[in-house]
């Protein structure tokens, strides 16, 4: 795995703080996002389906909040609402005191599979946002793009198209494309889904390394409990549809993390607790095949 190179000269952004200093207090560039009594449903009055029901959740500043729940429970809807692609039926979403009304560069999404534009090279994909807005131009943009490309270990693949990259490289390119916009919140929508087990582990470690470097507020949606516990500061378990927050577990494993911690009794305890709640949720509506199969999927992966 290519390692992220640190460039001592790059001083465009606030210098990355270590995990220790970040833990001490909240920095001004660490944002808070609140979902207040948000509900969302789809369909007309004859065929209406309530997906989110009165969901309240806070993404705490500088924390990595991981959201798990049976598949089909509304995780993607949650992502779409936070990103501003869709609007809640009731309730509101507030980022640092101002209401979210639509998509914006302060909330960047890393999508399931990959959403790199196939017609742009790695470099073109990464400079896409700043170039559109014109808020970072010329040499400064180029330098920042190159810095990020090196950081995600894709220097050699700068001028390759997404189809020429492996799954893991695509995810890293997409991470860089999001980071260059310097968002206040990073939204990860099952970003490592579809990767083989090996690449997935490497990506998780790589992702954590980037997060632990400057602790930007993040929400990470997944259906894999193992992944969720490994990454999370706070683990949010959603209930079955209509989804509400069922339980929040603070994951108090030390940072920086590595995979050996996953075999600790603590990690095991977290996993059991989460599994029990998810099991309950799935059983509640066992007739609902989507919920049940989603649970089974998560369950079998976690025990693999």
């Amino acid at each position: 795995m290519a390692t992220a190179k640190k460039k001592p000269a790059a001083k465009k952004r606030p210098a990355p703080e270590t995990a220790k200093t970040a833990k001490a207090g909240i920095r001004s560039d660490q944002s808070r996002l609140e979902l207040k009594n948000v509900s969302k449903g789809y369909g007309d009055e004859w065929d209406f389906e309530q997906v989110l029901g009165n969901l309240s959740l806070e993404l705490e500043p500088g924390k990595l909040t991981v959201v798990v729940g049976p598949s089909g429970c509304g995780k993607s809807t949650l992502v779409n609402l936070i990103a501003g692609f869709e609007k809640p039926d009731t309730g509101e979403i507030v980022l640092d005191g101002s209401k979210v009304t639509g998509p914006g560069k302060d909330r960047m999404v890393v999508f399931q599979e990959t959403a790199l534009m196939p017609w742009q090279t790695t470099y073109q994909n990464i400079v896409f946002g700043p170039k559109l807005r014109g808020d970072l131009t010329g040499q400064a943009l180029h330098d920042e793009a190159v810095r990020l490309i090196e950081k995600v270990g894709l220097a050699e693949f700068r001028d390759k198209y997404p189809l020429q990259l492996s799954g893991g490289m695509q995810r890293r390119a997409e991470l860089a494309r999001a980071l260059i916009n310097d968002p206040r919140i990073m939204i990860m929508d099952e970003p490592f889904r579809g990767l083989d087990a090996m690449s997935r582990e490497l990506m998780q470690e790589f992702f954590l390394k980037i997060f632990e470097e400057n602790r930007r507020t993040q929400v990470f949606v997944t259906s894999e409990i193992e992944e969720a516990i490994f990454l999370a500061d706070r683990l949010v378990i959603l209930s079955n549809k209509p989804a509400e927050v069922r339980k929040i577990i603070d994951i108090d494993l030390p940072r920086p993390r590595d995979f050996t911690m996953m075999s600790s009794p603590e990690a095991y305890r977290y996993k059991r607790e989460a599994m029990e709640i998810l099991h309950e949720e799935a059983m509640k509506s066992f007739v609902d095949q989507a919920g049940a199969s989603g649970f089974m999927e998560a369950y079998s992966k976690a025990n693999a």
């Binding site: 290519a2 807005r133 916009n181």
Partner: protein, 285 residues
Amino acid sequence: MTEMAQTSHDTMPVKRRSRLSKALGNKKLVRGFTAICVFLLFWEIGARWEGWFGYALPWIGLIPPPSAVAAAATEVVTKVGYWLSWVDSFKRVMVGFLVAQLLGIPFGLALAVNKYFRGIFFPPFEILRPIPPLAWVPASLIFWPTNEMSIAFVTFLGAFFTVVINVLGGARAIDVRYLRAAQSMGASQWHLFSKIILPGTLPSIFTGAAVGMGITWEVVLAAEMISGGGTQAGGGLGFFIWNSFMGGSLEQVVVGMISIGIAGYLCSSAVRMLGDHFMPWRRLF
């Protein structure tokens, strides 16, 4: 790891060989060439069967052998009229094809991005679309003052519907995540159109162009046969075939047919090359 494999592949030294030795070493090319030779040999034997064995084989015995066609071709290529027919047909195909692209691509994109536009124009479009281009010939002869314009119009219709359907389908099939990603990064409506929808539709535009090119050739030839070649000096390849048939020269008919095959191939190659040029990300494999 896959990353490693790709890296080593990238840095592998490229062997430089001449084009000819490459072609001779290319099994695919050799196979294709052999297949054509075998095909010509069977055709020659089949066509000459009657002379050798006293009875004719069905179908193949009725057409002239390739050697006779080649003889006719050497004579035909010295005539100016034959080449003028090439020029005429090419001109008509190009006019019909280009107008179809110029009108069809914007129309298809408009249908794709605006639901009101789609609501108004899609139903009549769908009613007109199944009408075969050749069914338009009589109406088009009445519409347009000259034969030439009628032929161009029918040719245009042949490509237009295909182009529009392809562009519409392609633009509608663009992954919504590209649009959302761009929106998050601050794209305006115009950006979404020019940076996402347009490049995202390019593959379908070129598919439409390739299929449309084939149809324009079909239509132009039929139109030339029906209209009697128009007013141009050569009359077009379709007229050339019809004229040769009327004159009883089957050899020339086959020469005309092969000419069309070559012309169509040249046009498709041109569309493919343009596609490769404008879509470098598709030329990777």
